[in-house]
Symmetry: C2
Subunit: 383 residues, 2 copies
Amino acid sequence: MSVTAARGFRAAGIAAGIKSSGDPDLALVVNDGPSRAAAGVFTANRVKAAPVLWSQQVLRAGKVSAVVLNSGGANACTGSPGFLDTHTTAERVADALGHNAAEVAVASTGLIGVRLPMDRLLPGVGRAVAELSPHAGERAAIAIKTTDTVHKTAVASREGWTVGGMAKGAGMLAPALATMLCVITTDAEVAPEVLDRALRAATRVTLERIDSDGCLSTNDTVLLLASGASGVAPEEKELTAAVTEVCADLARQLIADAEGASKDIRIEIRNAADEDDAVEVGRAIARSNLLKCAVHGEDPNWGRVLSAIGTTSAAFEPDRVDVAINGVWVCRGGAAGEDREGVDMRFREVHILVDLAAGGAGATVWTNDLTADYVHENSAYSS
Amino acid sequence: MSVTAARGFRAAGIAAGIKSSGDPDLALVVNDGPSRAAAGVFTANRVKAAPVLWSQQVLRAGKVSAVVLNSGGANACTGSPGFLDTHTTAERVADALGHNAAEVAVASTGLIGVRLPMDRLLPGVGRAVAELSPHAGERAAIAIKTTDTVHKTAVASREGWTVGGMAKGAGMLAPALATMLCVITTDAEVAPEVLDRALRAATRVTLERIDSDGCLSTNDTVLLLASGASGVAPEEKELTAAVTEVCADLARQLIADAEGASKDIRIEIRNAADEDDAVEVGRAIARSNLLKCAVHGEDPNWGRVLSAIGTTSAAFEPDRVDVAINGVWVCRGGAAGEDREGVDMRFREVHILVDLAAGGAGATVWTNDLTADYVHENSAYSS
């Protein structure tokens, strides 16, 4: 049900002609209120796309009345003309809706370094506004796809209120954040500062803990919009839990659809000195091309796990680390443990469990395998 | 000419039966003096193989009379039994040569987590000693190959003295150091502390600036041995230049033979605020899987260069960065520059030039493209 699962929201997804394929490429999400409270988190990349720079400004006031998203072009590395394109897009949306452009967020995804075809995008905005519907959440989710093979939506239903969302992202996924556009909506009554805390708490343990290929995008945008249409004001804890549920669901879908992937790898770190150590170790393992190739070959190569751990600054003693792959403790005390022949890696999900024996903290990071299909898909992307 | 180009050295390379293929797998380099001065640099990985731990101890005294190297097994993550295997190997070499085991360095390469077949390795030491020759440098270089398709040697000749070396390494190449074993010899008369400075100065700008796949090995070892047999005592500057020449030559050969690579990528950073910034930016670009795929597809995707730069903490302004690919300034001021259609990427060497416009420092980092062959080779390594 996507971004229209919660009351007070309408959406649209259309083909504006930005993509040469003619596939849907323009999405609109409108918050009909009564509240327009909003929060956002954005890419940590210092090279930020024009729509990221724009939306960061919009979010500073904690209010968003509409989000316009396009696939088919990232509008990154396009200089001031690119920023003007984003501004013009927001103005066009605001004009058509009778809103204020300063409350219209913009998100873009696609190839870096190319200007958007504004002559097609702007007329598309008019058509998207005309097609706005409280039942078009799926269509909006479809319109933000790039190399995604499926569209991604999620919903968490609570008594009297709902959180729903959509996301896109299939490559260039890395914390923080995974390369993605993500819009989450709720009909709960929530103040902007509570939304902000809930969104940061949720993304920190979900969307920021997936790493497809170690490459951090220029365009990552995650927005959380609250309409207040349910009239219910949940406690912050409840809200955070529901937003986390939706983010976790979307994060899993992003990993499952990662470019060329044949395996989803769940890297669970236990008994770290603290959570930062656990995340650092999990990410180092998630970024080892050698390990990702081994998993692709269904090879329980725990040596590549150890050598990745060794590149971190986390607290651990090499001769106290245990590693289990799919339940078999193939490494005990930093050396060979149980027989690796016992590891069954035929299924899509692979579980790597690392016991650092250095404390009581833990974290889980998701990645996927590295495949020839990833190489093929990314060798031909812009051609 | 390898490690026997300099006077005072003998070498051997034999098939001891460590590799099931029957290929050469045991190398020995002996320094017949009169000097036994030596220096070494080792992997920065905190999970260090037994031979690294052993050789680090040996090098502390600045004297090495012999180096025994094996392929077919890394002897990493093998616990105290693995360390005892290394110790026993050094003892056997020392006994056969009438040397002191405390002056025998050991280096190993191959699969992590598996014990070495000592019943074949130890008899092999005896045979290697019997075959020692001042003309067997090539044979030693061949015996340390793993997935290398060619053996690597280099020589720098000076008036009256020589520096020569051998190296292996084809994957798991990352600073510092690239995954490799490397032995360099000279017949110059040099004190251990001068050797140490020369070796560190040389590797810092050569072997530590290649990055094949971002994966740091547990076994990297670079040794520099001086026999003094020439009777010539060059100035430190001259020595450093010659050692740097040999290291640079070997580093280029390692990148050229990287697993599955079809392109060698020279990433040159100019006008950085300082050298550390230049190296950080160079490495970030070298580790972008997306960029490496693009280069494989002969796609001058400068947007992926910008997005990699954006992940660093280096001083730069996104709208002042210029990028040239093979001489064409495809990115000017952080946006599209000259026509990317003009970039010719048909040849093996690809030159990415980044102008950070932030100062006067620079650095060059080498990497290679990411290919389906890399995935295939590393999916099947241990099977």
